[in-house]
């Protein structure tokens, strides 16, 4: 009769010829052990061990799979190994950078007053004292933090309206006209402008308009916005393009004017993408060094006025601390401050990215019942 009385459950014919679930782990352990053995023979180092183990793992798993499961599954395993391997290779430098900055930057960041004092009055004598007598490292990045935030904010204020309106023109009014095509072309060209050229442009522009030697935060902001505008245009354009035409038509059919349709229907629908695009553009320029160096100079004291006087920023602070340590004989405190500033910069960029995700989520069109 039927097999309801059969006590032994035989393996399903549909799952025949498969590797057991634990197979990759077994191969991984074996690969690590054999890899360690090979490295012990030729001289051990962690990097080599990782590479040898990865190759052994791939070869072992694919070979085993080919023997048991056949060619198709083996090819699948090979592709999986290659994909995961490339992912790890891509991830490695990122983790390495974050770890290095974290390890080197934390002592500087944890220094009392690092975020709340400037380098005003901090001379080489203090640094010598801290190295020779173990006194705490003086000085901080407050002035650079203020400078970075103000310059970037001003650059954003300049770039977002220009960039967004350009994108609106391209998507809603351009219709492949010669002007629209020219704008698209020049935006593409602008994306590739080296940042130092943008800095030189802004410096030369202000020299010509305001007067020679004009170096202020505002000049730096103009330089940064030259770099930012193409990014904002491109990302906003893409976001506006994916707003379905049906929504525009629905608004037109209600007798809504075109500019109101754009303002109240198209942009709100795309706002989450635009906002995250803008945030990413900010993250892109916040770490620029060269254009700020030639436009805002560098300062050691606090300057909260973007329109007058030289201004410090985090990247230029790092640059000067490493290149011209406050105390040439004892550069360690300076490099500690530079690493601390680098850590703050990375944290700022990370916060901006988190902010972009948050903004995207808040503004995203709501679904649900």
């Amino acid at each position: 009769m039927t097999s309801t009385l059969t006590p032994v459950r035989k393996r399903s014919a549909l799952t025949k010829g498969q590797l057991p679930k634990f197979a990759p782990y077994v191969v991984l352990v074996l690969a690590l052990v054999v890899g360690a053995a090979i490295m012990a023979v030729v001289g051990f180092n962690a990097f080599g061990w990782g590479i040898v183990s990865a190759i052994l793992f791939t070869a072992g798993l694919v070979g085993w799979s080919a023997a048991v499961e056949g060619g198709r599954k083996a090819k699948d395993k090979l592709a999986t190994c290659l994909v995961v391997g490339s992912f790890l290779v891509a991830l490695l430098p990122l983790i390495s950078v974050i770890l290095t900055v974290l390890i080197n930057g934390l002592p500087g960041l944890l220094d009392p007053g690092f975020l709340s004092t400037s380098m005003n009055g901090v001379t080489g004598a203090f640094d010598n004292k801290s190295v020779e007598q173990g006194a705490p490292v003086m000085g901080g990045i407050y002035h650079a933090l203020v400078g970075t935030i103000q310059i970037t904010l001003l650059a954003t204020v300049i770039s977002v309206p220009v960039g967004l309106l350009t994108a609106v023109y391209l998507v809603e009014y351009g219709e492949d006209r010669p002007l629209a095509r020219a704008i698209t072309f020049f935006v593409d060209v602008m994306t590739g402008i080296p940042s130092i050229v943008a800095g030189l442009f802004a410096a030369a522009f202000f020299f010509a308009v305001v007067g020679p030697g004009t170096k202020t935060g505002a000049v730096a902001a103009v330089a940064l916005s030259v770099l930012m505008i193409p990014v904002v245009v491109r990302s906003s354009e893409e976001m506006l393009k994916i707003v379905p035409n049906e929504l525009r038509e629905a608004a037109y059919a209600l007798g809504v004017r075109k500019w109101r349709t754009i303002l109240k229907v198209v942009i709100p629908t795309a706002i989450s993408g635009i906002a995250s695009g803008v945030t990413l553009a900010i993250a892109r320029v916040i770490g620029e060094t060269a254009p700020i160096l030639v436009t805002a100079g560098f300062a050691t004291s606090i300057n909260t006025n973007v329109f007058s006087g030289w201004m410090a920023s985090l990247p230029t602070f790092i640059y000067t601390q490493i290149l011209n340590p406050t105390s040439p004989s004892n550069p360690d405190p300076s490099s500690q401050r530079a690493w601390g500033a680098a850590l703050v910069l990375i944290i700022l960029v990370m916060l901006l990215n988190l902010g972009a995700r948050l903004i995207a989520r808040i503004f995203a069109p709501k679904t649900g019942r």
Partner: protein, 259 residues
């Protein structure tokens, strides 16, 4: 609150391509007129010229006259925005605004035009429009929820509510049921029947039974072949068109011999 439309010698072009040729038709007020015909014969294109929505498509233009109670839509100085506020449109696929609640979707025509409206008036308008679209009972408890959370049929009725909230003279419907199931289709057809008491309704449909069920008059469009312009073959009472058409092509089409 409804006007008639008279179309005289209308040609529609996409760039140099003549898409619809020489249409003459009278659309009676407070009636339902259905446009039927094979795909690509210019029904939807022609429908869009009735409220100048074809202008959204680059290169589209018309020659001829469309008279709304005697006023030419294409006369000099006529603002397409004014035209569209009098002649509303419902599209093939439901397209409620995703960023707005159900209530705001209904009020979209008012709010997007920045007209001032008190909360009481707005509430009354929302209820009246949703009642008019047979949707009130289903959504009255969740007016603040997003419109995109409704089912397809409900979304389409929301779009109809949105269209009648601006109190147009004429409502154009471009295959409003083609994306809907039979039950939702029935709800929309019932609604069309109610709407003709107040509005002039023009509906494009691929479903001949639907045309026979809802319309008072039917217009049959046909196309001689690809690359040729679409033409209005015959227009008349729905009953006549389906039982005793004068043209051979109409008879072939409605009896299912082609198309």
């Amino acid at each position: 609150m409804s006007k008639r439309i008279d179309v005289k010698d209308l040609n529609v072009y996409y760039g140099k391509f003549l898409a619809v040729e020489d249409v003459n038709i009278n659309i009676e007020a407070k009636s339902v007129t259905a446009f039927i015909g094979p795909s690509g014969c210019g029904k939807s294109t022609f429908l869009r010229t009735l409220n100048r929505m074809h202008e959204v498509i680059p290169g589209a233009r018309v020659e001829g006259e469309v008279l709304l109670d005697g006023d030419n839509l294409y006369g000099p100085g006529v603002d397409p925005v004014t035209v569209r506020s009098q002649i509303g449109m419902v599209f093939q696929r439901p397209n409620p605004f995703p960023t707005m609640s159900i209530r705001d979707n209904v009020l979209a025509g008012v709010k997007l035009n920045n007209q001032k409206i008190s909360k009481g008036e707005a509430d009354a308008l929302v209820e009246r429009s949703l009642q008019g679209a047979n949707l009130w009972n289903e959504v009255k408890d969740r007016l603040a929820k997003p419109g995109s959370g409704l089912s397809g049929g409900q979304q389409q009725r929301l779009c109809i509510a949105r269209a009648i909230a601006v109190e147009p003279q004429v409502i154009l419907m471009d295959e409003p049921c083609s994306a809907l199931d039979p039950i939702s289709t029935l709800a929309i057809e019932d609604l069309i029947n109610d709407l003709k008491d107040q509005y002039t309704v023009v509906i494009v449909t691929h479903n001949m039974q639907q045309a026979a069920r809802v319309s008072d008059r039917t217009a049959f469009f046909n196309i001689a072949g690809t690359g040729k312009p679409g033409k209005l073959i015959e227009v008349g009472d729905t009953h006549t068109i389906f039982s005793n058409p004068t043209q051979k092509a109409t008879e072939d089409y409605v009896s299912g011999r082609f198309g």
